[in-house]
Symmetry: C2
DNA sequence: GGAAAATAAGAGCCATCGCTCACATTCTAT
DNA sequence: ATAGAATGTGAGCGATGGCTCTTATTTTCC
């Protein structure tokens, strides 16, 4: 069988020009998702907004899904940076203070790009190659569990995996819902209240 | 202007035959969503699976969205029946017992048709006419808040709206995630543990 | 300077999808 | 029995979308 050098290289960029093209495509995808919604994000439109041709698009991405996946990946990296930083910071802090800081970080993370976060959560079908959204949550759980292990003397529970699941899921759900669906909870005062309540919920549960 | 009797009547069914058609269409939509996923649910395919022609489909539904909306509606009615029953039952029970019963009901509700629930949660773009998924949650919150108001003497908090938000969001997130993404938590034993923990989380927070 | 590799362009193929419409069949009521 | 309403049929139109392929331009390297 002969090779297919023409269609195959749909992969890496090496020159600077092409890296710019790749960036423009990802950025355009994100913009369209936010401004026009998922079903307007056709490959033709993405290329158009990126100021690039469809042909170029398919040089670097095997299809539409890959573009969306790249946007998700980028967004999750940003979020995880905030979360990891917070977890590192609280490693040696007592539970009450640590959880409080973590809740604040969760809100901060959701505020990085709420509109994009919302589209990703509500409009992207989690199917096929896009179902690894959970994998990202697993990392958070694992990290938080490690934190709990280092503070097991402050905690009444035995099953720290379960504890991490309960706390992690609650914190994520509360901050996610508040930031994305309750604009009435976004004043500084209301956010403070939310942090208070969530912290109380979690700390009360752990101790 | 002349009337357009041909295209207009796309609405109600009166004979029994047509009611069967409508049911078959909704049922077919649900089946396809579960077995093949959202993007396979084209109007042609739905009609085919329902054993009906596309033309008939458009006699009763203005479009694909309406079909999906009907499936969502039916599913939510089933869920709300369980939730409302539980809330009615606990109305005069103390918080600890009541919350426990409510958590069990939430799990029960998610178990009615987990596969469909998952598809609805993960694959249906919440856009346009389909964004009223939240309205359904609001009812639960309102009902739960009413319960809390009747037991305010057992509760430390002042802002019962906020309390209902925190508790409702947590219960929903925990039961949803456990049933749909943690098959390891579905043994009788694990479910019991989950109910215990969720109840403790919420009751500890309220009191 | 020039060949070859890398990158970009974009017209257009092909498949699919939502939906219509002209027509066929069945039901209801007189 | 039969008119007319209700219901059912399905080929196919128009639009759109994903993606390919040929051709053009730019960059690299000698």
């Amino acid at each position: 069988m002969a090779r297919k050098p023409l269609t195959k290289p749909r992969k890496h960029a090496s020159q600077e020009r092409s890296r710019a093209t790749v960036d423009a495509l990802i950025e355009a995808t994100a913009r369209i998702l936010v401004r026009e919604g998922f079903d307007k994000a056709s490959t033709n439109r993405i290329a158009e907004v990126a100021g690039v041709s469809v042909g170029s698009l398919y040089q670097y991405f095997p299809g539409k899904d890959a573009l969306v996946a790249a946007v998700i990946e980028r967004h999750h990296q940003e979020i995880m940076q905030v979360v990891r930083a917070a977890l590192a910071e609280i490693a040696s802090q007592p539970v009450k203070k640590g959880v409080r800081r973590l809740v604040a970080a969760a809100i901060e993370a959701h505020r990085i790009d709420p509109k994009l976060h919302r589209v990703l959560a509500e409009q992207i079908p989690r199917t096929g190659r896009l179902e690894n959204v959970e994998a990202f949550n697993r990392e958070t759980y694992a990290l938080f569990r490690t934190y709990l292990e280092g503070h097991s003397d402050e905690i009444r529970m035995v099953d720290l995996g379960l504890a991490a699941f309960v706390c992690g899921t609650s914190i994520e759900a509360l901050t996610h819902t508040a930031v994305l669906h309750r604009s009435d909870m976004l004043s500084d005062e209301a956010v403070g209240k939310l942090v208070d309540e969530t912290t109380r919920l979690v700390v009360g549960y752990l101790q």
